[in-house]
């Protein structure tokens, strides 16, 4: 008679066509028996509908203030294998491209030092090594470092920057977002590893307005590749799409948000009023062979996104409508100066656990722009204010409102 499973509820999750994490935990547990307690404790949670982890304690590795999430079971009596079960965040290679060699190295180290369970990847983008003992943390880090890997962020620091595959695997990348993501990660190792700000700060780099790393929703500083000249049109390919059966009027022109595309069905030609194009990507997405972003490329800098705690979620909003791609290349002087000043302002003015966007809300764009010595421009707003409660700069009132910046 086969032994009765101790995890009947979770076993249910091995059924069905989608790959099952339960199967993977069981696989890991075959070689690392302690890991079975992860499943056992989870089964208890499934029975009781409540988690069984205690509030994380402060654990870490020497010289770093972040990168490790402490975690302890609240039933070490039942699940000694996960008594302490800390997570390590390992900075992934930019764009999540790997060699099998590097990955096998990580797997070997992790099998030696931890549970054998991972997340590829965490939702910030790190490699998550899920669950190890307190005393394994330092040796684990040493091994990883030796293998050429380093920790990602946690706590009130710069979080691991991430980027869409960009120029590596996409024809629409408007700047080298992979290179910049890598270079900025290297440039700000100090900020990444040693929490010292009011709260966390995230960078995400998308190569174009399709925003395949969801930068606008998830990064305090969102880089969205874009262009400022005309969309590149290949007339022959347009005609080919039409002949191939694409309804260019309905599928492309009618879906343009500013209706700036006109299509002439007889000549099978399109005309784009580029001054009204808001670079939404739709037409390009539908006809990738015929249309391409313009040649004057760069990115839109947007800032302030975050999850809802405490006052509701924020999306990033436009700070600099266009940074030419030449400024997004080494030595990045413009950007480094910009972000250093931004961080300084945030650090000086932000309250404990106040994200950059929340500070912006609290003190107003006006104050931020003044501190940064930047000009307000209409691209920053959806629409001007509707309330009349304007705070005037006293000096503008003394001179004349008209000349007010």
């Amino acid at each position: 008679m086969a032994e009765e499973s101790k995890t009947p509820l979770l076993d249910e999750l091995e059924k069905g066509p989608w790959p099952s994490f339960v199967t993977d935990i069981k696989m890991a547990a075959k070689r690392k028996p302690e890991t079975m307690d992860l499943l056992n404790q989870l089964e208890l949670s499934y029975e009781e509908k409540i988690g069984h982890w205690k509030h994380g304690g402060i654990v870490g590795v020497m010289g770093y203030g972040g990168g490790v999430i402490g975690r302890y079971s609240d039933r070490p009596d039942l699940f000694p294998g996960v008594k302490d079960f800390h997570t390590l965040r390992v900075n992934m290679p930019t764009g999540w491209f790997y060699t099998t060699k590097a990955l096998r190295t990580i797997c070997d180290i992790w099998d030696k030092r931890g549970s054998g369970m991972t997340n590829f990847h965490g939702s910030t983008g790190d490699i998550i090594l899920l669950g190890t003992d307190t005393d394994q943390l330092q040796p684990l880090f040493d091994d990883l470092s030796e293998a050429g890997f380093d920790l990602g962020g946690s706590g009130s620091d710069l979080r691991t920057p991430s980027a869409c595959c960009g120029p590596a695997r996409c024809e629409w990348a408007c700047f080298d977002n992979l290179q910049m993501c890598y270079d900025m990660t290297m440039e700000y190792q100090m900020e990444l590893h040693r929490p010292m700000w009011p709260y966390k700060f995230k960078f995400k780099f998308s190569g174009c307005p399709n925003d395949c790393v969801a930068a606008v929703a998830r990064a305090d500083m969102s880089f969205i590749g874009t262009w400022r000249d005309d969309i590149q049109v290949n007339d022959d390919e347009i005609a080919a799409y039409a002949e191939g059966g694409l309804d260019i009027q309905a599928d492309v022109a009618d879906n343009c948000p500013t209706k700036c595309i006109s299509y002439d069905a007889s000549s099978k030609k399109i005309k784009i009023d580029n001054s009204n194009c808001v670079r939404c990507m739709h037409c390009i997405n539908v006809m990738p062979k015929a249309l391409k972003p313009g040649k004057e490329r760069g990115c839109t800098l947007m800032a302030g996104a975050k999850a809802p705690i405490l006052m509701g979620a924020r999306l990033s909003s436009v700070i600099v409508p266009f940074v030419p791609k030449e400024k997004l290349e080494p030595p990045y002087e413009w950007f480094k100066d910009f972000i250093d000043r931004l961080w300084e302002w945030w650090d000086e003015n932000g309250k404990f656990r106040e994200r950059f966007g929340e500070l912006l809300d609290r003190v107003g764009m006006r104050v931020f722009l003044k501190a940064m010595d930047m000009e307000p421009i209409p691209q920053m707003i959806e629409a001007p204010r509707t309330n009349p409660f304007v705070f005037w700069w006293p000096e503008d009132v003394e001179t004349s409102g008209k000349e007010a910046k």
Binding site: K15, H55, M92, N210, A217, R228, C280, A313, I381
Partner: protein, 361 residues
């Protein structure tokens, strides 16, 4: 010997396959050859096939090694993960494409997630590792994907891409706030503070000030120690106090559960990025397969599939038909919970800020 610090991640270009290095920044166009298979063509004429495979995200080292084995066989030892945690096998040699697909299929890996369908669910830790969850993450995700897999593999298609995300508490690590469909773990009861332990393990003033709705008040214990008490009526169960202080647990087996949100998006395509909006305020936690959650999502997806126009994301579709029609057609009851009444949660001034990359120069 102390470890080297601040070495940063390995240089990404060292990890790129040759075809990518050769065509870096010089891709010309792409095609979706079939569901889950992208073909990128370089200006050089070089071609790169990417075969996208769904996974559990919470995987073991053996699984990773299996990926490596496959990549060694078909991809010259290179592969990648996507921003939504799918695996992409990168093939430069067309001859290897179908054999690769066969091996993946034989091993039971779902191939898909491209184009106008459903890709993997971005999600979080849940009961597997976090201390604040109101639900599990990997479990509901598995249950939902089992049901929706045909939209992943391309057996069924949708009017546009549909992104699902899950976060197990209001911290929203899954960044579900901008998803076509979001699954959110929620608490519904105020924390039950351990008032005696609290002053020992937490700073009382910072615990009090952690509450955005001022629901936490100072209170002296009988022995004169300063502790806190909670004004239950003002609490909206955000859990921020618990993040700040472990003596404020708020998980509760019956009160905790899942809320479903709809209509968010991230891309600038056609309409700008938008927030997800509340569709179903509460569904119970019903492990191991969360049938109420699975059904609710299936209901919305199927209605959307049948009713939306080509290229219309869920949010665009609902805006066109109107929220009243959405509630009507889905049969989801409309409640007072749907009506925003959180003061601080009111779109703050930045509602006026431009949150799309859509503008004219």
């Amino acid at each position: 010997m102390p470890a080297k610090t601040d070495i940063g991640p390995p240089y990404f270009k060292d990890f790129l396959p040759k075809v990518i290095l050769d065509n870096y920044g010089k891709w010309d166009y792409h095609e979706i050859v079939k569901p889950g298979v992208l073909m990128h063509v370089g200006e050089s004429g070089d071609k790169l096939w990417s075969v996208r495979v769904g996974g559990a995200r919470l995987i073991c080292t053996d699984r990773v090694r299996e990926y490596c084995d496959i990549a060694d066989e078909f991809c010259d030892g290179h592969f990648r993960f996507t921003s939504r945690h799918n695996v992409e096998f990168l093939v430069a040699d067309e001859a290897k494409l179908e054999p690769l697909i066969k091996v993946l299929t034989d091993k039971g890996y779902p191939i898909g997630g491209t184009g106008n369908g459903i890709t993997s669910i971005v999600h979080t830790q849940g009961w597997v590792h976090c201390h604040t969850p109101a639900t599990d993450a990997s479990g509901p995700v598995k249950a939902v994907m089992d049901e929706l897999i045909d939209y992943f593999t391309g057996v069924k298609t949708l009017p546009a891409q549909l992104r699902i995300a899950l976060a197990c508490c209001l911290n929203m690590c899954g960044a579900v706030h901008c998803s076509d469909i979001a699954i959110l773990g929620i608490h519904r009861k105020p924390p039950k503070p351990d008032v005696n332990k609290l002053p020992k393990v937490c700073e009382v003033p910072s615990t009090i000030s952690s509450c955005p709705t001022y629901a936490i008040k100072p209170k002296k214990l009988e022995d004169g120690t300063k502790s806190i008490e909670i004004n239950d009526e003002r609490c909206m169960y955000c859990g921020n106090c618990y993040t700040m202080c472990p003596a404020m647990p708020l998980a509760d087996p019956e009160a905790d559960g899942i809320a479903i949100w709809v209509g968010g998006k991230v891309s600038n395509a056609r309409s700008g990025p938008k927030f997800s909006k509340l569709a179903i305020p509460f569904l119970p936690n019903n492990p191991p397969r969360w049938p109420e959650v699975v059904d609710a999502i299936k209901n919305i997806v199927e209605l959307y599939a049948a009713d939306a126009r080509k290229y219309e994301r869920v949010g665009d579709w609902i805006e066109r038909i109107g929220w009243e029609t959405f509630f009507d057609k889905t049969g989801i009851p409309f409640t007072d919970m749907h009506i925003d009444d959180f003061d601080g949660g009111a779109p703050p001034p930045h509602i006026a800020f431009r949150t799309t990359a859509q503008f004219r120069f």
